[in-house]
Symmetry: C2
Subunit: 131 residues, 2 copies
């Protein structure tokens, strides 16, 4: 899978992917200089998650780098768990998910508050029509 296919799969552009590689947000696919970059299906998942966090939470690329580091730690834990199931790995895993949940649910609450404010406005308009 080349860069154009990856970009299309996640809804972005090749330039963005190259930029993320440049700043160290995505690992550079090892290749001779000037050769085409090659990607796997797992890169689609990974990049999609990154872009979703960016779009939904408005995270900067610096903040995303932290989340990506946490995702990497998660992947390492899964491999470690496969070799030797240690409950402490589960603690770390749930701490990570809890942190993401906190970010996402706070944002969702803000949106819900705004939405109900808009519903109130709507009600006021309908009430004015009744009179």
């Amino acid at each position: 899978m080349r860069i154009g296919a990856l970009a299309a799969a996640v809804g972005t552009t090749p330039r963005t992917i190259r930029y993320y590689e440049e700043i160290g947000l995505l690992a550079p696919s090892s290749r001779p200089v000037g050769a085409h970059r090659e990607y796997l299906e797992s890169d689609v998942e990974r990049l999609r998650e990154i872009l979703r966090l960016k779009a939904l939470l408005g995270l900067s690329l610096d903040e995303l780098r932290e989340v990506v580091a946490l995702e990497d730690a998660r992947a390492r834990r899964r491999r470690a768990w496969a070799e030797a199931p240690d409950p402490r790995l589960l603690d770390e895993a749930s701490a990570h998910v809890d942190r993401l949940l906190q970010l996402v649910s706070r944002r969702r609450e803000e949106l819900a508050a705004f939405e109900s404010e808009l519903h109130s406005r709507r009600q006021a308009i309908l009430a004015a029509r009744e009179r």
Copy 2:
């Protein structure tokens, strides 16, 4: 109220306010060149709404300019309604609110979907601990 107080009230910087004025997103407060900008309580409401749409929906300043135009139209309708209540004004008003509601609720649904995905992950971790 001067620019620093406005910025603090809405949680942004004077530079951002000047930039928004520069690109025509905020109306320039009429004043002699070099004199201090003066703002009203209504400017706080207005800017707060703009920044909220930007932060929660990720709108660009170009897109915000459209929304601001709609908000202006809304203010004009309110004044027109005060003078002569015409039901057509209510139709326009509810069309505007409906559009904002559409934007906000779609975004909230995306966040809710992400959140439930995270909850699933959490459940999987807890289930692993039971075994």
